[in-house]
């Protein structure tokens, strides 16, 4: 693989680099995902994986009907997922709309990260000035992680320079807050595009690359996550900086979550098995993780009556 020698900031230089990346073997990636998904995880490892998955959850509520009360309840759950069991760890962060960031921050204090979606989430269809103001508002409201969406229209029409500039501008507006760049892989159509968008985002300054908004039918899939994990691994080999990955949307069961952890270990390596470098964007996943944890603790299957209603 070539090095990133010259500054890549024009559409033509970006196109040359991104289209020079090796193509993705789609069939191979899907076969790899299936093969790794069938791995049998024994009890002791499963207990470890469930706790690690809980610590990696970005507990999310991104609904038009979110109320301060709902956000507060969710934050309380994020701090103490199972009030009956003090050994359950807290989740990594809560993820809310920008205007709810102050509400979330007031509850979690300095104990958890507060992630806010910004830049005209989920479509990203607004002027740059509006997007940047959205980011500044969220940061001022107490968010220390910003989840931005890329302009998929610009990306798909080949205007890589514009996407690049916007990510850089948002990164500046973030200040010290971490930047997660949402690629919305369900709208990128091909795994080649996922690979290109991943590189584009990383080179523009993303701290995390995230699969999806959760607002389009196709969200995180194992295949997409594999391609993104390969990208962060190769980027690390090239530049020495570690970028995080966050699959979001559609991960609902402990079984799925554990499959993703297997992917992380096998593709990116064990260094990525930390909440600083891998997150799950999820809402219902946490309850399933808690039920599995209860099942391992008491020896019989648990049910939704024994966890909170979201």
């Amino acid at each position: 693989m070539r090095t990133i020698a010259e500054p890549l900031n024009t559409t033509s230089s970006l196109r040359e680099f991104l289209h020079g990346l090796p193509g993705v073997d789609e069939v191979g990636v899907k076969a790899r995902a299936t093969a790794l998904g069938t791995r049998s995880i024994k009890n002791e490892s499963k207990a470890w994986a469930i706790d690690m998955a809980i610590r990696m959850v970005d507990l999310t509520t991104l609904e038009g009907m979110d109320t301060p009360g709902k956000v507060r309840a969710m934050c309380a759950k994020a701090l103490r997922p199972d009030p009956t069991d003090p050994t359950v760890p807290s989740v990594a962060a809560v993820c809310v709309y920008g205007d709810m960031a102050p509400v979330a921050r007031a509850v979690v204090g300095d104990n958890l990260h507060v992630a806010a979606v910004a830049t005209a989430f989920p479509s990203g269809r607004a002027s740059l000035e509006v997007k940047l103001q959205d980011v500044r508002d969220a940061v001022a409201g107490g968010a220390d992680e910003i989840d931005m969406v890329i302009d998929r229209g610009a990306f798909l029409s080949g205007n890589y320079g514009l996407v690049n500039e916007q990510i850089i501008a948002v990164k500046v507006a973030c200040g010290t807050a971490h930047l997660k760049v949402i690629l919305e892989t369900g709208e990128l159509r091909t795994l080649d595009n996922v690979r290109r968008a991943s590189w584009l985002a990383m080179m523009a300054g993303a701290d995390f690359i995230k699969t999806s908004t959760g607002k389009v039918p196709v969200a995180a899939t194992p295949a997409v996550t594999i391609v993104m994990l390969q990208a962060v691994r190769d980027y690390y080999a090239l530049t020495g900086s570690q970028i995080g990955v966050k699959p979001a949307g559609g991960i609902r069961t402990s079984k799925d979550a554990i499959k993703y952890l297997v992917l992380v270990k096998e593709i990116a390596g064990e260094a990525w098995l930390t909440p600083d470098l891998f997150r799950f964007g999820a809402s219902t996943l946490l309850n399933d993780l808690l039920m599995q944890r209860q099942r391992m603790a008491v020896g019989h299957y648990s049910g939704p009556d024994y966890v909170t209603i979201d």
Binding site: Q294, G299, H300, Y301, S302, G303, P304, D305, Y306
Partner: protein, 287 residues
């Protein structure tokens, strides 16, 4: 004449309206009463039971909210489709139970009639089981039955069709969802019934049928936190029944004890009343 290739049967489970193999991949051989090989049946594991409970919980939401009239119609539809497959059921029962033509036909007809009977009760049992209560105060006070939730049932071991129908019909007609473990040695009529259920408007997950060994599967169902009641009708070992009752007590389940009644006799409302919760409402008057 005899040059057709034999169609060998390996039956599957019935979970969420679909026919999955056992997660364990296991099967067991089913023989008739003369020990002649009939077919292979899936041998369900604890994970199949877990999947069935998930399916039943999902099915329960819609089914319990459906109108009583609608539930009755669906049960009647099951009886209709069974009637269309009458000859197959008679052959199945004959092979499974070793009974003669006439007895088998009588059993199948009784099973169909039993479904029709319970279907009729769908929008009537609440009037019989519920009540308006005279109270000394300015309240309108009434009592209504509500479904218990997800019910696990062990079907009778001997009466492979009539007993099975007599166990599941009263459970589902009141709005519960059921996971039933079919007769271990005589599962074929139950499997044919699943083919009927799949084509007769029963919403996915409302009736789930597992084949295999109750001693293996039932303890997981009895202890499961998301199962609300357990019907031990088909449990033949007193030791297993005791173990299951103890397991069920851990999550305070409703338990119906083992029984071997004469299935051909006319039923009473006992089974209908077994898996309902009584709700009493005090409504202020003249406010």
């Amino acid at each position: 004449m005899n040059d057709r290739v034999e169609v060998r049967k390996t039956y599957k489970l019935f979970i969420k309206g679909a026919f999955p193999r056992s997660e364990s991949g296991r099967t067991y051989e089913v023989h008739d009463t003369d020990d002649k090989f009939l077919a292979n049946a899936a041998k369900a594991s604890r994970k199949d039971a877990r999947d069935a409970v998930l399916a039943a919980r999902a099915g329960f939401d819609g089914w319990s909210a459906a109108t009583a009239y609608n539930r009755g119609q669906v049960l009647y539809r099951v009886a209709e489709v069974m009637e269309g497959r009458r000859e197959q059921f008679i052959a199945d029962v004959q092979a499974a139970e070793g009974s003669g033509d006439k007895k088998s036909a009588r059993v199948v007809d009784a099973a169909i009639d039993r479904l029709v009977w319970y279907a009729g009760w769908a929008d009537k049992y609440a009037q019989v089981v519920g009540n308006t209560n005279p109270v000394a105060g300015p309240y309108f006070n009434f009592t209504i039955p509500e479904p218990t939730g997800v019910v696990a049932a062990i079907a009778p071991q001997d009466s492979s069709l009539l007993g099975l129908v007599s166990v599941i019909a009263p459970i589902v007609v009141t709005g519960n969802a059921v996971i039933v473990v079919a007769s271990t040695r005589r599962p074929i009529p139950a499997i044919t019934l699943t083919e009927v259920l799949a084509t007769s408007d029963v919403p996915p997950g409302v009736i789930n049928v597992l084949t295999g060994d109750p001693a293996e599967i039932a303890p997981w169902l009895a202890s499961h936190g998301d199962v609300n009641a357990i019907d031990l009708t088909g449990v033949t070992s007193a030791e297993l029944a005791k173990k299951l009752e103890i397991e069920a007590a851990g999550t305070v389940k409703r338990v119906r004890p083992p029984a071997q009644p004469n299935w051909l006799a006319n039923p009473d409302l006992g089974r209908l009343r077994s898996f309902v919760e009584t709700k009493t409402v005090w409504h202020p008057l003249g406010a």
